[in-house]
């Protein structure tokens, strides 16, 4: 509890320090940016720390982070000292600041309460996330090292880990606690971020009299973003209790829940048939996982799933920053004067924009294009209110050009090391998303967003909407034309048309039409300076992302097996965020219409509202499943390594010893993860070469020290699938395995010398990967630096003649 309180206090402190900055950048928002101050403060703190560590101004360790906080405080003081409206803003925003702090506190501790029942940092990609967190914390130099590839710097978008690390160190908690508390922070900051944005959009739309409905809209947005899940959970729940109708289930594309007859196949349920559950919720292990794999060959993750699973991934940690970027776009869009190059006479705002939007790439590279596009559209739309479109476009370019240039320059130290795995845009020529799957996955947020279309017809006539439809017709057509051209270029047009299937074409048409309609509505309302336009713009962007992911894919290392896996995953995640904001506006305002004037259009809100309620079945059933009904027989804790202390005290003690007694940056030899045994001739042979998603590299991951090689395929993902990389990574695996299988002490010492390692670990993983007498008797030629319950750390014997005078 003390750790959670310290972390919470650190987050509040950083948020409070960022308030003057938020006021300066987001004053147009009704809460003056209070809800986004958490993300803003942490982004600025993280950037300052990164830059100053890179410049060697800040030292490693906790002190460096605290000095960065002092730097943030001085920046805030500089802004506050020049802000003559600060006292008035503070008075005006007092209730909003209190509300933001309260909302943050509620969501933070709610998540801590959940995570305390499931804190283990193990399984899925959590070891990888933990590795990056520890790498940013313990790197002796910056940019941080890659702990799973000794001697190399990290090649990943690790800004989120850096920020969670900053909170961890400022709070003074262990990294294994900081990991889980970082998730809690993200959950809470995401809630305040979207609440701040949607409250602003609703207040602008409804005016001060609509305050209550603005609060409803903000609350709905938080629910849509962080609580609603896949509608498949409704079917999961019913099926778990034995209620399934085969035709209905097939109609909704959940065949996998229908029991198998005549032997299990891929598309039917082959698990326990009766009973599938022992409680009111489905108790089948991780049933909720299927909710993130609705569309075959892809990942269809959504925020609730992310927080339930607990992988501290970049796309999760970026949610608060995404809403900060949207808040900045909304704030700029709301302004009056046109923005152009001369608007940078006072460069502070432009620099702040550059740092935030540059951080999007550093935090989750997929976000930079999407949300920079939102910014660009917002600026163009603002400029287009009082000048012809071409002029507006030129002015916007002159304004945004320097911003994006600085956004790249400011993060050059990171770009230098970053190797993107993306290798081009390709047309998608596989089976399209079936409409029923699209409905299960995105139904609530998409339909809620579409409710906003009704604003276009209210008092403006259909004529102007028709004009806007014509003006935006290129939006759905251009991507389609691009797809046709690209498929033709690759000679796959026929394949692409046929493979998509009828269902895929229906989904495509629905996505295209929705995006088109919302874009037209945005254009129409934006011309009229109607504040609702921004929400429709967000909805249109979200639909375009879903549409685009049906037509194109970013080629990466998964291209051969699951070509559009990452494209659908990352773009649909962004779409979920955008549609949550847009949908909350649509739903809340429709409900308001129904409530106040019994408007017919409001009637549509009822079925959509019901769908949202259906989407809440997912969290209601998945939460108790994940936490085993909140009745685990071990004490609740937030320490992600507590499981290790319980299950393997020797391994835990070894890990802590390494953490406390070896220098940051030290190279440790630990098992590569490949499993060995003796063959019939008594020779050591590999019988299992799989290392990814296992406990390979766990000492490096848990301590931030480095090891020659960790997860092989992940390194390939981060650095490219080149023959040179394959050779190098395999060489490292062979080198490490040689240290554990060689019988020649000189050879082991030569391996350690070549790897630059002083220590060699023999813990649980080594004992299981090199069983029997495979390992040499290290104690005969190495020093035993640590021992507990048979787990040891060996060190190379040292001999040094030291002068003392």
């Amino acid at each position: 509890m003390a750790a959670a309180l310290a972390f919470w206090a650190a987050a509040l402190l950083i948020g409070a320090l960022a308030l003057p900055l938020a006021f300066a950048l987001l004053r147009r928002l009704p809460d003056s940016g209070a809800g986004m101050a958490f993300a803003l403060g942490l982004a600025f703190l993280g950037y300052g720390y990164f830059l100053l560590r890179w410049l060697s101004v800040l030292p490693p360790g906790r002190g460096g982070y605290l000095l960065a906080v002092a730097g943030l405080a001085l920046t805030a003081a500089a802004v506050a000292g020049r802000d003559r409206r600060l006292p008035a803003t503070l008075r005006r925003s007092g209730p909003a600041i209190a509300a933001a702090a309260g909302l943050f506190t509620f969501f933070f501790f709610a998540y801590v309460g959940f995570r305390a029942y499931q804190p283990d940092i193990t399984g899925t990609e959590q070891p990888m996330d933990f590795m990056y967190l520890n790498a940013t914390l313990g790197s002796p130099g910056y940019p941080p090292q890659d702990s799973w590839l000794a001697g190399e710097r990290a090649s990943y978008y690790y800004f989120g880990y850096l920020q969670v690390g900053a909170l961890t160190e400022v709070a003074g908690v262990r990294a294994s606690e900081g990991y889980n508390l970082g998730l809690a922070y993200t959950f809470a900051a995401a809630a305040t971020g979207i609440a701040s944005l949607v409250f602003a959009l609703a207040r602008w739309t409804l005016g001060s009299r609509g305050q209550r409905w603005a609060v409803v809209a903000a609350g709905t947005a938080v629910v849509l973003l962080l609580a609603v899940g896949s509608l498949s959970a409704v079917f999961e729940w019913a099926a778990a209790h034995g209620h399934y109708n085969a035709s209905l289930y097939r109609a909704f594309g959940v065949e996998w829940l229908i029991p198998c007859h005549g032997g299990p196949t891929q598309d039917c349920f082959s698990g326990l048939l009766s009973p599938r559950t022992t409680s009111w919720y489905p108790t089948e292990f991780w049933f909720w996982w299927r909710g993130s794999r609705i569309i075959p060959g892809t990942i269809t993750e959504f925020p609730f799933f992310s927080f339930l699973l607990g992988d501290l991934h970049p796309h999760v940690m970026s949610i608060p920053l995404v809403f900060l970027s949207l808040g900045l776009s909304a704030s700029l869009w709301r302004g009056r004067e046109a923005l152009n190059l001369w608007s940078h006479r006072r460069p502070a705002t432009g620099i702040a924009l550059a740092l935030v939007f540059g951080a999007l790439a550093f935090q989750n590279a997929w976000d930079i294009l999407t949300f920079s596009a939102v910014l660009a559209v917002a600026v163009v739309a603002r400029n287009a209110r009082d000048r012809p479109f071409a002029q507006a476009l030129r002015a916007a370019a002159s304004y945004l050009g320097p911003v994006f240039a600085v956004a790249v320059i400011a993060y050059l130290p990171w770009y230098v090391d970053f190797r993107s795995q993306a290798s081009g845009i390709y047309p998608y020529v596989g089976e399209g998303t079936r409409p029923e799957h699209a409905f299960l996955q995105f139904g609530p947020v998409v339909l809620a967003s579409l409710l906003g279309l009704s604003w276009s017809f209210r008092g403006h006539g259909r004529a102007s909407f028709s004009q806007a439809l014509v003006a935006t017709a290129w939006l759905p057509l251009l991507p389609l034309a691009g797809w046709v051209l690209l498929t033709a270029y690759h000679g796959q047009t026929r394949l692409g048309i046929e493979a998509r299937g009828p269902g895929g074409w229906v989904t495509l048409i629905v996505y295209a039409t929705s995006a088109w309609a919302m874009a037209a509505a945005f254009l129409q309302l934006s011309r009229l300076r109607r504040p609702e336009a921004f929400a429709l713009g967000l909805g249109a962007t979200g639909m375009l992302l879903l549409y685009g992911a049906e037509l194109f894919l970013i080629r990466d290392v998964f291209f051969g097996q699951s070509p559009r896996l990452n494209t659908v995953f990352k773009l649909s995640y962004q779409a979920w965020m955008l549609l949550s904001a847009s949908g909350a506006m649509g739903l809340a305002l429709a409900l308001r219409g129904l409530w106040r004037s019994r408007a017919r259009s409001g009637l549509l809100a009822l079925p959509v509202g019901l769908l949202v309620v259906g989407g809440l079945v997912y969290p209601l059933t998945a939460l108790p499943n994940r936490t085993e009904g909140f009745q685990k027989d071990v004490p609740a804790t937030i320490d992600g390594l507590a499981f290790l202390a319980r299950n393997s005290p020797g391994e835990y003690a070894l890990t802590r010893w390494v953490e406390e007694h070896t220098a940051p940056g030290e190279v440790m030899i630990e098992a590569s993860g490949r499993a060995w045994r003796r063959d019939e001739h008594g020779q050591p042979v590999i019988f299992d070469a799989g290392v990814d998603y296992t406990d390979a590299g766990r000492i490096a991951a848990r301590t931030g020290r480095t090891t020659p090689i960790g997860w092989y395929f992940h390194e390939i993902q981060w650095r490219g699938d080149s023959p040179a990389n394959q050779r190098e990574f395999t060489r490292r695996q062979d080198l490490v395995d040689r240290a554990y299988t060689s019988k020649d002490p000189a050879d082991v010492l030569a391996v350690m010398r070549e790897a630059g390692a002083r220590y060699l670990v023999v813990g649980d993983v080594e004992l299981s990967r090199f069983p029997g007498d495979l390992m040499p008797k290290f104690e005969q030629f190495l020093d035993v630096a640590f021992e507990s319950s048979g787990r040891r750390v060996y060190s190379v014997p040292s001999y040094e003649v030291v002068p003392t005078s």
């Binding site: 410049l55 060697s56 101004v57 800040l58 030292p59 490693p60 360790g61 906790r62 002190g63 460096g64 605290l66 000095l67 002092a70 405080a73 001085l74 003081a77 500089a78 506050a80 000292g81 020049r82 400022v170 003074g172 020093d783 060190s795 014997p797 040292s798 001999y799 040094e800 003649v801 030291v802 002068p803 003392t804 005078s805």
Partner: protein, 548 residues
Amino acid sequence: MSDVAPGQEAAANSPSVTVSISAIAWTAVGIAFVLLRLGPIWQAPVGGAELIHLSGAWQARIGLPDDRFAPTLFQALSALVLHGTTSEVGPRLFAFLATATIPAALYLLRPRLGNAGALLALVLLALDPPAISLGVSASALGFDLAIAIWLCVLVDRAAWSWWAWFLGGFLVATAGPLPLPLVFALVAARLLTAAPPRYPLLALGGAGVSLGVLATSLRFGLGWDGLRVVPFDLFARGFDQPWASGTGVELIASYGLPTILAGSLAAVWQLRSAGHRWPVEARSLDLALWIGAAAAWLWASSQSHNPVPLAALTTPLALLVGPLLARALNAMVRADWTYARLLLPIAGFAATLSLAVAVDWARNERVGDGGQKFVFAATAVVAVSALVILLSSRTSRPTLLAAGLVVAAAPALAGTFGVALSASHEPIPSPLSTAQARELRDIALETVRDRGGLVVVHPSLRDDLTWAFRDSGTIVVSSRIPADAGFVVWPLNLPRPEGFVALEGRWVLKQEVEPPTGGGLQYLRWLIDRHSVQINPSLVAVYVKAKE
């Protein structure tokens, strides 16, 4: 910092006998300030940050790269001084000389703090145990206290010539972390009030800082070490290295409570007064932000073994409390003593009885029987009741200060004299390098001179022995005992090497003086008997080659 009361200013300028008393008081306090720091120069054992940094300075002096050498100006001077002496006294004298200028700096701050305020601030600084320890230690932070106080003078007299700004910037950049809260406060206050100093002065200060960073990056001529902002480096190291035996919280309980409690009361008082005068000027914000930043540092260091944040907080608190204490003393003298004449002695007598019972318990390390408990409670109630009666009377309330001073004086003076006169039994400085460690070095040299062979030290003991084994020729640091070893210093938990015999004795290279952490009774016992602390020795085994 508080304004000068007109009456006090007039009194300070008045050519009456008051001036003489003032002069006598300044002289007396100045002498006390100096005398309290003289003892530790020769008597205090090498410990805490000093042990780490003296080891680093020695390594620098013999030309060995070592991370323990933190290139502050003081550390560079230490390394230079160690060319002429192997004793820690030389570097300590440098620190002492710098610290001894603090009374003069406080004297110059009279226009800001008032004559009596500055004098009382000096009294508080003179008696502050962490400040005493730090002010004469040969750690890399030897100049820090003096720099912080002189920086106040510099800012207070902003019209000083350009060289002062340049020198100030240079000294801050080549100092340890103690002045950082003040620098933060000065910058933040000027940013908040949008009242920066003139650009030429800023530029000169910046040039001084740049030169300082260049000097520290070049390690004062020992070689380029990459960009080093040494105050930041030491700030960070304070969180990781053992600069004291106790944690921040334990050090506050041991040495900081009187000052911090008085400072907190003063801060509340000052905040209430400032509440009516918003917005405030930059100068008025300085002290508040200085205290705030130092308190935040102390808070963040609560679980670190670092006494510097405590000294960093007690220094500005002394400047805050001094002037307010002067006003409070004035009010106390003028208060209505009608009831206090009777009630204060009653309270004092009752409290003494109560304390006597508690002291008895503390000596026996257990709470007494029911009768004793009753006596303790009854006398305590009488004492508290007498004080509450005084508190309830507006005109008599200031007389409570007398009781407060007496209560605060006991722990404060115990700490002061403990650190000043008997530092080997205090949690600061600690962990200590023992005198026995140096004796061991002499025995080792004698043994290998008589019998031949090498002096061999286990790598885990290497850092502990750097200072004790200085100037000992060549030794071998090895994890396995070489065949030609003659004298071996080895961890106690490792088996005795064959062919060696143990040198009889209880060999302690380093020892930690634990602060009292066992509750109120242990704390009380420590107050009356400074030797009651627990001392944890780091024992080692010593072997010599067996005669064949």
